[in-house]
């Protein structure tokens, strides 16, 4: 691998790593979903520092230029991360659905309870509720 390319790669990967850490510190990302990014970053960094590894990989899978092998590794990581994101979206979707459904039923129960309380007040408190009402007007 060309040493210029090597330096360029290391710089980009380092910048990316710094960005990740900053976002993590600001709590804009949660660690749970960032682990895959960190792993990808680490692997690419190792490959950039030890180009022999990428040269070996290039020969093994029959790629002509080592640069393309670097791209291939990156592309594989991107695919894995995207797949995991689709999984996360599906899971969140399920959770939101459950929340909305249970919330709707709870809301109905609260509505019914409120109505019942009003009715009960009306029935019980010939004295209580009316007096309360009066004092309200006075105040």
């Amino acid at each position: 691998m060309n040493p210029k390319l090597q330096i360029f790669l290391i710089l980009v990967i380092a910048a990316f790593f710094v960005a990740l850490v900053i976002l993590l510190k600001k709590k804009k990302l949660s660690l749970r979903y960032t682990l895959l990014w960190l792993l990808a970053d680490l692997v690419l960094l190792v490959l950039a520092i030890f180009p022999d590894l990428i040269n070996w990989f290039t020969r093994q899978v029959g790629i002509v230029s080592p640069v393309n092998a670097v791209f291939a590794v990156e592309a594989i990581f991107v695919l894995v991360i995207m797949l995991s994101l689709t999984g996360i979206v599906s899971q969140e979707n399920r959770k939101i659905r459950k929340l909305a459904q249970e919330n709707a039923i709870l809301e109905k129960r609260v509505r019914d309870l409120e109505k019942l309380t009003r009715v009960n007040h009306g029935l019980i408190s010939e004295s209580g509720a009316v007096r309360e009402g009066e004092s309200y007007e006075q105040a």
Partner: protein, 237 residues
Amino acid sequence: MKILLIIPAYNEEESIEKVVREIEEKCPECDYVVVNDCSTDHTEEILKQKNINHVSLSANLGIGGAVQTGYKYAMHYGYDIAIQQDGDGQHDPAYIQDVIQPIVQKEADLVIGSRFIEKNGFQSSFSRRAGVRFLCGVIRLVCGVKVTDCTSGYRAAGKELIAYFSRSYAQDYPEPEAIVSAALAGFKVKEVPVIMRERQGGVSSLNLMKSALYMIKVPLALVLRRLMMKRIRGEKR
């Protein structure tokens, strides 16, 4: 026996009151609940003003999520039978007795009201019928259940199936998939003839693009279901 009618409604301001009043008139012994799937029109106001029993979803979940809310409601209030009926007036409450009969007599857990058995009343367009026939073929292939109107939203579920559906119910376009998942979980499925009308208001959820997508997505979902669930013969779950 406690019977609940589940009426999913999305933007049905024109028809929802008529549908509910018809149910109250023709089937006074049944309770009903309208599930308002976060409608963007005046459905919610109408439900409140006219004192119609309803639950309101705070996010739009689609027909599957709305119907499942109804099953959760049925589960929570301990209903023995839950009947699904569309909020657009296509389904005549006069057939409620017909669809619950097989459940009362313990012949079936899921009963589907089919308009294609006696071929009376509103029969829908030719392409829709062809699509339905194809999907019914797929259903027969993946779970061996013979149905003629697998997209019918007029159906009744027994107590155990209510519990099952409230835990897991197909989403997006759930009607055919719900049949397969119930059948594969060991519930008995039966069809009875009903007569349907044309919708009284609102617009159908399917247009040309969506229909094409539907015909790709639903068969895929059905086959996936088959792969996901091991079939339990005879006994439930």
